[in-house]
Amino acid sequence: MRDDENMSSGVTRRTFLAGVGGAVALSVAGGSASAAATKEAPQLAALVKDGKLPPLAERLPKNPMVVKPWEKIGTYGGTLRRGLRGSSDHNGILRMVGNQGLVRWNMDFTQALPNLAERWEVNADASQFTFYLLKGAKWSDGHPFTADDVVFAIEDVVKNKELYSSTPAQISVAGKPVVVEKIDDYTVKFTFAAANALYLENLATPLGQHPTLFAKHYCSKFLPKYNPNLDADVKAAGSSSWPDLFRAKCGDIEIPQRWGNAEKPVLDPWMIKEAYSGGATRVLMVRNPYFWQVDTEGNQLPYVDELNFGISQDVESLMLNVISGKIDIQERHINSLANKPTLSQNMKKGDYRLLSLVPSAAQQCSLYLNMTHKDPVLRKIFADKSFRQALSMGINRQEIIDIVYFGQSEGYQTGPRPGHPWYHEKLARQFTEFATDKANAMLDKAGLDKKNANGIRLRPDGQPLFFAVDVIPTLYPDLVDVLELVKAHWTKIGVSMKVNTIERALYYTRGDDNAHDAQVWPGPGGLDPMLDPRDFFAFHPQGSRYAIPWTLWYTSNGAKGEEPPESQKKRFKLYDEARSTADVDKRGAIMKQVFDIAAEEFEVMGICLAVGGFGVIRNNLRNVPEKQPDSWSWPNPGPALPQQFTFTS
């Protein structure tokens, strides 16, 4: 329990590492191991002996990237088992394997470290990035990885309008895509139209993997520019168009086909042997003989021979596999609060230990009243700040925390988590006290002082004050419980609310059409306030559910949606400024202004601080950090480097 308290209240981003069992960071120190001393997996050594594979020294870069194992030098061998779902779970593979961008995250999710780029230079206004690639790194088919591959990936693939009808947001600034030039074989220069100070952090997230995703010598076969006979090839392959064939062969960051072609050269520690496809019952990956990282003693990584992702249709059968010890590491799908007691009880039987995850989210349940509601009366009521403040004070947060979250949280609104250097007290804590009388008085003062026979307040047009809050029960069963309690609390202050449990596609459609009264969602921005600030201003066209038309206005530069109030526009400007500020402290100062305004406007209401997640690790699997951030931007466990996970016999 002590651990959990710690996680919910006190892990700072900067001291996070110290909190992880006092262990040493995974560090990279280029060039300390010479290739001559390197060692390799027995199967690979046998292949070399038979002449089927070049010797290790020829496969590794001259100065391979050195990774310091988390606990100890590992031993080669073993099959690591993990579970996937049968549908749209391709990112379950990405999180484990596909973490090989130009840069990668450090363990405490604060800084981008060298990866396939050994080092880089950034110009003063953060609009030009020069990357120096790891010399001699090779694709999994032995072909060298060079600046040509990076230039090809961006200039020929990602900027190709037939493949990407609009350029991914990651590499486009001020409406213009990045320009990538080759300086020499191992140097590339990225030039943006304007400052893009967050680019390195963005590169470390999964959506930043494009520069290292497409091997030119292989993928150019599927582009008309390089292959004059492409039409014939498309026909022969039975594809409907060349872009379809390209995607089937070379994939993209987050589509299933990325893991569907065993021939595609990769830079990952493991490569596909049995693909992820519609009919598959498992996915098998084997080691990449050309992987370019070694441990501190010069042993080529990865330690583990194979990854076996079993595909379960049902979470219960996945749970059964965990309990009976048939899964080596898992947090996806099984980490609901309801499963925690079962998994804790069976630790001995399944021979596993628990992994604890620090949520990157700020809020367990953000409540978004639709301030741009189509009904003008409700819109006016929701837009009244004191109405929202009164509702917030009408919620008995402690009761919710005790009943739904077993006491493992604390009342919270939104903003960076406690201990984060940008933590903002007012944004986080205002109006979290439970004060029915005060709330009632505020509602009376707001002009909602007439009540009907049931004690429900009447709107100015005489209708009872009623609205529905949408929630997806299959996705977040706990939020349904939270809302049921909130409903009871609000009845006491004369506000009638309906818990509207709906299917998830309907939930999104209602949001897209601006047809919702209110919706709930776990609020991000706890450890990643720059990457997902949707609760601080109308940033996300699907996520900032209190005013989706405003976000459309922001993302379309005023062409679509609805013009937001001045305070929002000011935050758009401040955020754009923060995004182009390279200096972290200056950036923090700008973001503090955003937080000040957000706290003042109080658009989003929160219940309690996001509760820590968990996972399981089999006891014989070592080198796994037992505390990790939990985020899509830090796609756990990838940045903890699964290539250095190892089995003890």
Binding site: G86, S87, S88, N91, Y164, S165, S166, T167, P168, A169, Q170, P206, L207, G238, S240, P243, D244, R247, A248, E254, I255, P256, Q257, G260, E274, S277, G278, G279, T281, R282, L284, N308, I311, S312, Q313, D314, E316, S317, L320, N321, I323, S324, K326, R332, K349, A361, L475, E503, R504, A505, L506, Y507, Y508, T509, R510, P522, D532, Q542, S631, W632
Partner: protein, 328 residues
């Protein structure tokens, strides 16, 4: 007879069209489309799809066109070149995804059907002949028990016991080493060694109801004069049962073949999902949930075709078995 069969076959064509169109419309009826669902699925693990990508996806899949246009394109592909379209989710041709699954589904369906009949027939006859005996009561108790346990629960309990108490590897139809191996005698044997668990689970509930049906039918037939006549003519009790009342009582067994085939695909969904069986059911459910129209549509079309074929078979069989039925 031949005329009847041809007429029925011709009727199937408009039926299939009507059904395929209805299926297509029904799959599209829920709000949102494949892209909405796709984004929602990723969002459930807090993953983010680039906004530009979402719009591009919609355009690429033709989701911005009207439903009728999408349907006509699809059905034309099937008619003109046997192309069932591309699964949105997997970007693979639908036909590649469904055939192996359908084959395994049929294996499981037939095995469960045979198991059900092998248990239900003799027990039903026995219960009817020895009405109100201890054996009848025992079987009755058993059947009510079987009927009242939901099969997914039975599957979960059996899996739990097998996995936790015996450490057995349950779930799936193949051992890991055979899962992706090409078909061989060893793989077939492996399949057989694992098939019994889902077959037993699927058979339990349908056995229970069939026993009751069989018992009731036999009880209807046994007091009839023709039975008394046959007995008076000195026919042995066993031959008498087999030759006359049983034939009549088989009628419901045969006439249910029509829905047995589709039922074993759609009715076993939950069990197949719990037991992780590589049959059509889980893929169909996924496709429906993801609004993966062409994949789901192809499955629905196949199931409808099976129903139509099944009902033709049962009509022909009925004509052969039941002397009271004439087709002309």
């Amino acid at each position: 007879m031949l005329k009847f069969i041809i007429k029925r076959l011709l009727w199937m064509i408009p039926s299939l069209f009507a059904v395929s169109f209805l299926a297509f419309v029904l799959i599209q009826l829920p709000p949102g489309d494949f892209v909405t669902t796709y984004i929602a699925t990723l969002a459930s693990s807090n993953e983010v799809v680039d906004q530009n990508t979402a719009a591009a996806l919609r355009e690429r899949f033709g989701l911005d066109q009207s439903m009728l246009v999408q349907y006509l394109k699809w059905i034309w592909g099937i008619l003109s070149r046997g192309d069932f379209g591309i699964s949105f989710e997997w970007q693979q041709p639908v036909s590649g995804l469904i055939w192996e699954r359908m084959a395994l589904t049929l294996v499981l369906a037939l095995a469960s059907l045979l198991a059900t009949w092998a248990i239900a027939l003799p027990i039903g006859v026995y219960s009817a002949v020895k009405k109100y005996s201890i054996g009848d009561y025992a079987f009755t108790a058993f059947t009510f028990f079987g009927l009242s346990i939901p099969s997914f629960l039975l599957a979960l309990v059996l899996m739990y016991v097998a996995a936790v108490e015996f450490g057995a590897d349950v779930g799936g139809l193949f051992s890991p080493e055979y899962e992706t191996a090409p078909w061989s005698i060893a793989k077939t044997l492996d399949l057989l060694s694992r098939l019994w668990l889902p077959v037993a689970i699927l058979a339990v509930s349908s056995t229970a109801s069939l026993i009751r049906v069989m018992r009731a039918n036999m009880l209807d037939e046994l007091p009839k004069p023709y039975v008394t006549t046959a007995r008076a003519k000195g026919l042995s009790e066993f031959r008498l049962l087999i030759k006359y009342p049983l034939r009549i009582a088989l009628n419901p067994f045969i006439s249910t073949i029509a829905w047995l085939l589709p039922n074993l695909i759609s009715g076993s969904v939950v069990v197949a999902i719990v037991l992780n069986l590589p049959t059509a059911a889980p893929l169909l459910l996924q496709a429906l949930m993801a609004q993966d129209m062409y994949l789901a549509g192809a499955f629905v079309l196949l199931i409808c075709a099976l129903t139509l074929i099944g009902s033709l078979i049962s009509d022909i069989l009925l004509a052969l078995v039941d002397p009271r039925i004439r087709l002309e």
